[in-house]
C-alpha cells in the first residue's frame, strides 16, 4: 500500500524580551539555578502576573508578518496540570482566543515549487522551568530560571507531507523570527523548538490517521530524523495489523527513535479556563498599524527584490536572505563593488559561507567583513587577479585580517595581462612538449587543458585566464 504522511508542527519560539512575560525577572540564559526566578516565577502564594508589553508587540509583529488576523481581543487561560517544572500547577497560555490566527507562509520544495503552509494560530504563553537529573540519585532538581520566559507557540495546519517539508517550514519560521528580531533562534539553548504531530494514511484517503505527538525537538536534524522514524514506525505498526494510539512520544537522539511518554499520558484533562488574574488583551488598530510600520523587509520580499534588482537566480536569493545579516552583508559587497552582483553572490554563498561554517562562526563574527570582500571581488572584476588566485587571497585574508590589496602586493599575485609575456611562456611550453603538441594537432582536443595548466604553472598561476585561452588557442592552431 502507498502511504501519505500528514504532519503539523507546534513551534515554540522564546521571545527576546529582557524580562519575563509576567514578571520583572531577567530572561538571560545560563544563570545559576533559580537566581532568575522571583516570587511570581516561583508561584509564591499571593503573587499576581502582569503582562509584558514587549511580548505582546512581538506577537503582533509575528502575526503581521504571516498575513494573519490580529485578535482585537485575546484572552489568557490557565492550562492546569501538575509537573515539578510548572510552579503554579498551571501554565498561563491562550486557548479559545489567541492573539494571532489564520496566517500562512510559503516554503520552497526540492523541485523548486512553492507550497503554502497554513498557520492556524500563534499564541502567547509562559515557558516552564527545567528538571535536571544528574548528580542527585533517585531525585530530580528543579531550576525555575526559565519559568515565565515568554513564548509564542506557532501552530501549523496539518499541511506538511514529509519530514523534509517539515524541516523547510521550520527553517522558514526560524528565519522569519530572527528577521523580526523577536527570537534569537538559538536551538541549543532551547530558544526555538517544536513538537511534531505525525500521522499516516493510505494515499487517497481523506480522513486523517491517528496521530502521535513528538515532544521537544530542538534541532532541524532531530526533526527530520524523529519524523522519519515515526513515519516508519506507524506504517510498520499498521501493516503488521496494529493500531497507532494517540499519545505523546519523546525522541531519543542517541538511539534515533521515539518512545512513548506514559508519565504525561494519564492526566490529559487540562481544565482550561480564562485566567481571572489577567484581563482581556485589547489591541487598538493604532497600535497594530504602528507595529506594521516598524516591520523590516521580510525574507520573501527581500528575496524577490534580489531576483528583480540583482538578477540573481531564486535559489541564490533564497540562500542570501536566510538571515537578515547575511542579506545585509551581501548588499554591502554589491554596493561597494558596484557591479557583478552574481559574482558577489557566488563569493558570499561560496567561500565566505564555507569559511564561516568551517570555523563555526556567525556572519556577525566574520573575519572578512563586507568591505574587505568587496575589495577582493573588485580586484577580480578589474582583472588584477584571477578568480582562482582570489581563492588563495581570500584564505590569506581570513587568516591574517589583511586587505586583499596588501596580500596581492606582498605576494606579487598581480595577474599578468602582458600579451608578450604570456606568448613567451606558451612558446616555451610548446617547445618542451613536442609529443603532446603533435597529438593535439592531430585532433586530441582534450590536451588543451594540459597546455593551459602547464602555462599557468610556468607563470605562477598569474596569467589572465581569458587572455591565456585566446593566445594559446591561436598558437596551438599553428
Amino acid at each position: 500500500m502507498e502511504w501519505e504522511t500528514v504532519i503539523g508542527l507546534e513551534i515554540h519560539a522564546q521571545l527576546a524580551t529582557r524580562s519575563k512575560i509576567f514578571s520583572g525577572s531577567a530572561t538571560a540564559y545560563g544563570a545559576e539555578p533559580n537566581t532568575q526566578a522571583n516570587l511570581v516565577d516561583l508561584g509564591y502564594p499571593g503573587v499576581l502576573p502582569v503582562l509584558n508589553a514587549e511580548a505582546v508587540r512581538m506577537a503582533v509583529r509575528f502575526g503581521l508578518s504571516i498575513g494573519a488576523r490580529i485578535a482585537p481581543r485575546s484572552v489568557f487561560a490557565r492550562k492546569n496540570y501538575f509537573y515539578p517544572d510548572l510552579p503554579k500547577g498551571y501554565q498561563i497560555s491562550q486557548y479559545e482566543l489567541p492573539i494571532v490566527a489564520e496566517g500562512s507562509i510559503d516554503i520552497v520544495l526540492d523541485d523548486g515549487t512553492r507550497k503554502r503552509v497554513g498557520i492556524t494560530r500563534a499564541h502567547l504563553e509562559e515557558d516552564a522551568g527545567k528538571s535536571l537529573h544528574e548528580g542527585l540519585p533517585g531525585h530530580s532538581g528543579i531550576d525555575l530560571n526559565r519559568a515565565g520566559t515568554p513564548l509564542i507557540e506557532i501552530v501549523s495546519e496539518p499541511d506538511l507531507r514529509s519530514a523534509k517539508e517539515a524541516v523547510a517550514y521550520m527553517k522558514k519560521i526560524h528565519t522569519l523570527v530572527r528577521y523580526l528580531e523577536i527570537c534569537d533562534g538559538n536551538m541549543q539553548e532551547g530558544s526555538f523548538r517544536c513538537d511534531a504531530n505525525v500521522s499516516v494514511r493510505p494515499k487517497g484517503q481523506e480522513k486523517f490517521g491517528t496521530r502521535a505527538e513528538i515532544k521537544n525537538l530542538n534541532s532541524f536534524r532531530f526533526v527530520e530524523k524523529a519524523i522519519n522514524y515515526e513515519i516508519e514506525r506507524q506504517i510498520e505498526l499498521i501493516e503488521s495489523g496494529g493500531k497507532v494510539v494517540q499519545e505523546t512520544r519523546l525522541y531519543d537522539p542517541d538511539k534515533g527513535e521515539t518512545r512513548s511518554m506514559r508519565s504525561k499520558e494519564e492526566a490529559n484533562d487540562y481544565r482550561y479556563f480564562p485566567d481571572p488574574d489577567l484581563l482581556p488583551v485589547v489591541l487598538e488598530n493604532e497600535l497594530i498599524d504602528k507595529v506594521r510600520a516598524s516591520l523590516p523587509e521580510l525574507p520573501d520580499e527581500k528575496a524577490a527584490r534580489f531576483v528583480r534588482d540583482y538578477g540573481l537566480p531564486e535559489y541564490d536569493a533564497g540562500v542570501l536572505t536566510a538571515s537578515r545579516e547575511f542579506g545585509a552583508y551581501y548588499e554591502e559587497v554589491v554596493a561597494r563593488v558596484g557591479s557583478e552582483p552574481k559574482l558577489c553572490a557566488n563569493w558570499v554563498m561560496g567561500d565566505l559561507a564555507a569559511f564561516l561554517n568551517k570555523d563555526g562562526l556567525e556572519i556577525g563574527e566574520t573575519k572578512v567583513d563586507a568591505a574587505a570582500l568587496a575589495g577582493l571581488v573588485t580586484r577580480i572584476v578589474d582583472n588584477t587577479i584571477s578568480g582562482k588566485i582570489a581563492k588563495d587571497v581570500f584564505e590569506a585574508m581570513w587568516a591574517s585580517g589583511e586587505s586583499a590589496d596588501a596580500i596581492i602586493e606582498r605576494q606579487g599575485l598581480r595577474q599578468i595581462t602582458d600579451t608578450g609575456a604570456i606568448e613567451k611562456a606558451i612558446d616555451e611550453v610548446m617547445a618542451k612538449n613536442p609529443g603532446q603538441l603533435a597529438d593535439y594537432r592531430s585532433g586530441k582536443d582534450k590536451l588543451f587543458g594540459f597546455f593551459v595548466g602547464q602555462v599557468m604553472k610556468a607563470m605562477g598561476g598569474k596569467a589572465n585566464p581569458a587572455q591565456l585561452n585566446d593566445l594559446l588557442k591561436k598558437k596551438l592552431a599553428g
Binding site: T35, N52, F76, S263, P280
Partner: protein, 96 residues
C-alpha cells in the same frame, strides 16, 4: 446528580489529593449533594447570555514595560523550601 466512588477517585487523582478510605464515602455523599444543589442553575434562561469571567465590565489588560526589576533572592526564597540542593528544588525523580 449522584457521583460514584469511582468519580471521586478520578477527581482526587486529577487534583492530586490522597484521600483516606474514610474520606471517600464522605465526599461521594457531599459532592453528590453539592451537584444536586448546583443543578438548580439548569433552570436559568441563559440562551444568548455571554459568560462573565470578570466582575468589572469593559476593562482591558494593562501592559508592563519590558524592564528587569528583580535581583537574586534565591537564598531567602528557598528558606521556605522543604528540600533544596545546590540551589535546586529537589523532588523524587521525574520520569519522562
Amino acid at each position: 446528580m449522584s457521583l460514584t466512588r469511582a468519580d471521586i477517585e478520578n477527581i482526587a487523582r486529577l487534583a492530586r489529593l490522597q484521600l483516606t478510605e474514610a474520606e471517600i464515602p464522605v465526599y461521594v455523599d457531599s459532592l453528590s449533594r453539592i451537584f444536586a444543589f448546583v443543578g438548580e442553575l439548569d433552570r436559568a434562561p441563559t440562551t444568548g447570555i455571554s459568560p462573565m469571567a470578570h466582575p468589572l465590565p469593559g476593562l482591558a489588560q494593562r501592559l508592563r514595560a519590558d524592564a528587569v526589576s528583580e535581583t537574586d533572592h534565591r537564598d531567602l526564597y528557598q528558606q521556605n523550601a522543604p528540600k533544596v540542593e545546590a540551589g535546586l528544588y529537589v523532588v523524587p525523580k521525574v520520569i519522562e
